[in-house]
């Protein structure tokens, strides 16, 4: 059974009175549990919009999104927040850590919202911090960390709450090649070990090569869906 099923998903933005931009057009897509999927395509092809729709950050103009056989495309914002909190992890291009909190507090934040017991929270943070090599960064604030370090904290934040799906929007765009490859290896490792489904957008050919499935978007439509 697919973890994610999109049916004729469309998103149209209206600017002014009559100017319409079709960011996503009639997309049908199925993603299985534990898949490691890259969404690629040129700028403006609809990658970010698609990820935002899947993650419930934006509402589709038409079509449906089924998450774990549950229709989430027409849920209210309050219910969507609940779905995101317990099922979906986000990794953003610009890391987007909460600047006033330490790395540990950033990682802990979602678990706190999930009402995970403090002892379990600490155990999980310790484990993931060792795994990602960020243990000695935990007490630092985001502005004291490099881009690569911040992105690893962001990955830790996304993964530590044990989501079923992680959406990463161009997570390596602000990183150098070395850090990009390290991060991708890390995500692959988590995918294999924790069986977490990953969908990430990128237009970096090196990263695209490493994915098992590559969905190429063009003008808001799926141009190609390549499985290696």
């Amino acid at each position: 059974m697919p973890i994610l099923k999109l049916k004729k998903l469309s998103k149209t933005y209206t600017e002014g009175k009559n100017v319409e931009t079709h960011a996503v057009r009639h997309i049908d897509l199925e993603i299985k549990k534990g898949e490691f999927v890259v969404v690629s395509g040129p700028s403006g092809s609809g990658k970010t919009t698609l990820l935002n729709l899947i993650g419930g950050l934006d509402a589709p103009t038409s079509g449906t999104i089924m998450f774990n056989a549950f229709k989430i495309s027409h849920l209210k914002e309050k219910d969507l927040a609940h779905v995101r909190l317990h099922n979906i992890g986000f990794i953003f291009q610009a890391y987007n850590l909460v600047p006033v909190l330490t790395a540990k507090e950033n990682i802990e934040y979602i678990m706190t919202l999930q009402k995970v017991a403090p002892k379990i929270r600490n155990e999980r943070i310790e484990k993931i911090a060792h795994h990602l090599g960020i243990y000695n960064l935990l007490h630092k604030k985001p502005n004291e960390l490099s881009g690569g370090q911040q992105q690893r904290i962001a990955v830790a934040r996304a993964i530590v709450s044990k989501p079923k799906l992680i959406l990463a929007d161009e997570p390596t765009a602000n990183l150098d090649t070395h850090n990009s490859e390290t991060l991708l290896d890390l995500m692959k490792k988590l995918n294999e070990e924790e069986k977490v489904t990953f969908i990430f957008s990128t237009h970096d050919p090196v990263l695209i090569e490493k994915a098992k499935r590559n969905i190429i978007l063009k003008d808001g439509k799926i141009d190609k869906d390549i499985t290696v």
Partner: protein, 412 residues
């Protein structure tokens, strides 16, 4: 969970220290001004009322029925014993004095005018006319054997008399005959009660009774009570006692009835305080709202991220309200502190407005104003801060609520 929300809200506040500092200063200043204004107004009003009460009516006054309206000498109290007895028996009565009052003329060598002639026993007036040491010149004693008078400062100025000069009092005696007597001015006083300062001549009660052929009778009894809140009940008890135990009919009138204008001013001052409060509150709220709005709009993207990772809007809302509340509480603490300092200074040392003394005295106000301090001022300030914090955060929260997480993340 609340801990992390509180911590985030608190730390967000200090990201722009200077802005938060200015906001706290603004709230503190506004609150201190509100607290101080209220204490000063109430102090001023209390002083006015106290001056009027002690120099005239007391908390309530007992006289023959109809005396208040007629002010006639013939409306005197002849059955004094039950009045004194009722007052002595009542536990809430703190002090009382008997007075004789008549309207007449006062003349000096240079000027004549209408006057209210008061016959008092100065020894009994220590909690009344004497209480606030009103003496400006001479002495506040009336010789038993010499015909002496004490007059108000304004009346002395009008009559152009000094200490040691004689004045002549003329009036209608109880037998309807016109009588006159010369009295030597031995004291000039300033009571802040315009009636006394501009119109009254105080002489020994015995001399007054002799001059106007009163046969030892009195016009009225002024009473001060211990517990002001029980004053009305005490009035009723005394009235009931007199109805039962005296053949004479009495009227027992509270100061609010005797000084209707003052009572009206008192209630008007309450509104005046609230209007002042509202104006300051509005100024603070607008500034507060403005800074909070800018501060929230600067961080819309961050709130968008929080929403994206699963934070419900109600939690984000709590963060914003908490942020406003924390600033408000800082403002409240500092504002209350400075407000209390100002009030303490004004309560014990007073604010000297001697430069405006003439005008203030004409309105029955003292030239040195003493503030009051009540716990209620701080409770009201606290409520105002809570309200301001809440209202200031409504629009920023509403603006944020309109955005979807993706719009918030992209917000510039």
């Amino acid at each position: 969970m609340f801990k992390i929300i509180l911590k985030t809200a608190y730390l967000n506040l200090w990201r722009r220290k200077s802005r938060t500092f200015i906001l706290i200063v603004m709230i503190s200043f506004g609150l201190a001004a509100m607290i101080f204004t209220q204490g000063l107004y109430e102090g001023m009003m209390s002083q006015m009322i106290d001056d009027a009460l002690r120099t005239s009516s007391g908390d309530f006054m007992i006289s023959k029925e109809g005396h208040y309206k007629s002010q006639l000498l013939s409306d005197y109290i002849y059955d004094t014993e039950p009045v004194i007895s009722a007052l002595k028996k009542n536990n809430n009565v703190a002090h009382f004095v008997t007075r004789v009052k008549n309207e007449g003329m006062v003349s000096s060598a240079k000027y004549s005018q209408g006057a209210e002639i008061l016959g008092v026993n100065l020894e009994q007036e220590q909690y009344f006319i004497n209480y606030k040491k009103p003496l400006r010149q001479g002495r506040l004693e009336l010789n038993e054997n010499k015909k002496e008078a004490i007059i108000g400062q304004d009346l002395a100025d009008k009559l152009k008399v000094k200490i040691g000069r004689k004045i002549v009092l003329t009036g209608q005696a109880l037998d309807k005959e016109l009588v006159a007597g010369a009295f030597r001015v031995v004291g000039i006083i300033r009571t802040n009660n315009p009636e006394i300062d501009e119109m009254s001549v105080i002489i020994r009660q015995k001399h007054m009774q002799e001059l106007f052929k009163m046969n030892g009778h009195i016009s009225e009894v002024s009473v001060l009570v211990k517990d002001k809140k029980q004053a009305k009940q005490t009035e009723s008890t005394i009235k009931a006692y007199l109805t039962k135990n005296s053949s004479q009919k009495f009227e027992v009138l509270g100061w609010e009835e005797l000084y209707a204008l003052l009572a009206m001013m008192k209630s008007m001052f309450v509104y005046f305080v609230y209007i002042s409060y509202f104006i300051v509150f509005l100024a603070v709220a607008v500034g507060f709202f403005n800074i909070l709005l800018i501060s929230i709009l600067e961080r819309v993207k961050e709130y968008g991220i929080l929403l994206a990772v699963g934070t419900s809007f109600s939690i984000v809302k709590k963060m914003i309200y908490l942020e406003a509340l924390i600033v408000g509480m800082f403002g409240f603490v500092f504002g209350s502190f400075f407000g209390a300092l100002l009030l303490i200074y004004s309560k014990f040392w007073g604010i000297d407005l001697s430069n405006f003394a003439t005008g203030l005295n004409k309105m029955g106000m003292a030239s040195i104003m003493y503030a009051e301090i009540h716990f209620g001022y701080f409770v009201l300030a606290f409520v105002v801060v809570l309200l301001t914090s809440y209202l200031s955060a409504i629009i920023p929260v509403w603006k944020l609520k309109k955005l979807k997480p993706v719009q918030a993340i992209r917000f510039v």
